[in-house]
């Protein structure tokens, strides 16, 4: 089994390098929104002193941490898998004795993210010089506490993304749904603003949704912004959603395959 992942890694890694231009585009797309929010919020905080108690440095450290965490927790399954269902290329992968999603697609995600992370680091360095963040609140304990959260966050986003892609088995127009999902995720994950700036209701709702695991929860763990009780309930919610996402994916996959018509294959 390990050998499969090792060989898949070699193949996917080699393939990713073939698409360097594509990679740069994705990276820019990824960078634009956090960097814009970073610039906007620090400017506002600077003119007002604070925004709801958050200082300009709070915003800088939040978004700079977000840029890194996002690399770990995000997934690109929809971009690499939906077309395989709609145009039937999935057929070739289905009849190999390995799970197309949990092996090839997973490794493909990881290979892609490793490359984008490598490309992100110098940009991150430039942002550091520009915004001079003060990361003194970050502790080793905070980072250690965040590692499992990042792993759970990626697992949830990967499985939910994979389940969502399975919708393509029923309809070729899966993209509209994905757009909606991305919008929800952006709102409730803390992408637009740190969740504590959201209206009370939104914060309440976000606490019960899986999306805070993509960004807000691990970021706040790194930055040491959560109380012990918040950490415990946060993790409990994360594990709950991990299980839900797993079953959701397995259900969608099994039933989706029955619909698969291997068009054109």
């Amino acid at each position: 089994m390990l050998r499969i992942y090792q060989r898949l890694w070699q193949v996917n890694w080699a393939e990713q390098w073939q698409y360097r231009a594509n990679l740069v585009m994705y990276l820019l797309f990824w960078l634009v929104s956090p960097v814009v929010y970073l610039a906007v919020w620090t400017t506002i905080a600077r003119t007002q002193g604070t925004v709801s108690g958050l200082t300009p440095n709070d915003f800088v450290t939040y978004y700079m941490t977000l840029l890194i965490i996002d690399q770990f927790t995000s997934e690109i399954t929809i971009h690499i898998f939906a077309y395989k269902i709609t145009d039937g290329t999935l057929a070739g992968e289905l009849i190999r004795p390995m799970h197309p999603m949990l092996t090839n697609t997973l490794v493909n995600n990881v290979a892609f993210k490793t490359l984008t992370l490598m490309a992100l680091l110098p940009i991150w360095g430039v942002l550091w010089l520009l915004f001079q963040p003060n990361f003194s609140a970050v502790t080793w304990q905070g980072i250690l506490l965040a590692i499992p959260a990042v792993i759970i966050g990626f697992a949830i986003s990967f499985l939910l993304g994979a389940a969502l892609v399975c919708v393509a088995f029923w309809t070729t127009r899966v993209w509209a749904l994905v757009e909606f999902y991305s919008a929800l995720a952006a709102l409730f994950s803390g992408q637009f603003v740190p969740l504590q700036l959201m209206p009370g209701v939104v914060q309440q709702v976000a606490r019960y949704l899986p999306f805070q695991f993509y960004k807000y929860f691990p970021i706040e763990l790194v930055l040491g912004g959560l109380s012990p009780q918040q950490i415990v309930t946060g993790y409990a919610m994360g594990i709950f959603w991990l299980v839900v996402a797993l079953f959701l994916f397995l259900w969608a996959w099994r039933n989706g395959l029955k619909q698969f018509s291997a068009v054109g294959a």
Partner: protein
Amino acid sequence: MTLPHDDAILVENLTKTYQVSEREGGFAAAVRSFFKRKYRDVHAVQQVGFHIQPGEVVGFLGPNGAGKTTTLKMLSGLLHPSQGTARVLGFTPWELKPEYLRSMTLVMGQRSRLSWDIPAADSFLLNQAIYRIPDNDYKQTLAELDDLLELEPIMRKPVRNLSLGERMKVELAAGLLHRPRVLFLDEPTIGLDITAQARIRGFLQEYNRRTGATILLTSHYMADVTALCERVIIIHEGRLKYDGGLSELSHRIAPFKLIGVAISDTAAYDLGKYGTPVTNAEDADKSYIQVQAADVTSVTARLLADLPIHDISISDPPIEEVIELAFHG
């Protein structure tokens, strides 16, 4: 596990019905279909049944849209049937059991299963891991495949840079590295030139002889079928029409030959009185008639005597049309 005398492939009452949404052209119809979809059932495969013994090479024939590929997809496990059963090597294909997937292969001439961005050699190594092929077996099989298909010069180039014939070779090799006991081949020689077709054919024969693998193949080229298969199964409009020896089938179709004639002014002559006029899409320059094999000589003589012919040809009807003619209705 199956016993030696069991069928390698057993198909009973296999049926696949697709639901296809359809609508009239135009804006109003588009709006209507948004709210209320009309569905039409397409009966791709209807109650097909056959048995294939281990080691048999069977040609699976039928015109376009007959249900050949749908059947192959069900037998390889890609599609769930609407009804009926199939057992291949004792497995139900669409359960996609890894054990089953490791003992069969599906090679589609129209579709690449290899990654285009990397050399085939890398995909082979990946397949070795996926199919859990021990190192020694892998080396031995690859050496054999290299011997039969001359892979060495082409397997280190990215697949996208290979010619069609070269690509087909590496596709076949990739599909056979795990030494499958059952091969489903959908148009394995499509688009290849005569030499490449002959090579692939020779290879399949040799592979079958060496490994005793069961092969079910579809092809548009009658030469593939005559070279490889003693038995053919024909389906038409989703239904089984013929299952038996190739020689008996040619008896049923041998009575026909096609005579093609090139005349300057076709409209001026009535070819109908020499035989049944037919169209031949592959050669629009000639007019074709179909005649009984026994009458070919006399009809040809009459044609040459009566008409200002500047070119004439006599050929077997294309397999697609033979099947269409022999089994229509």
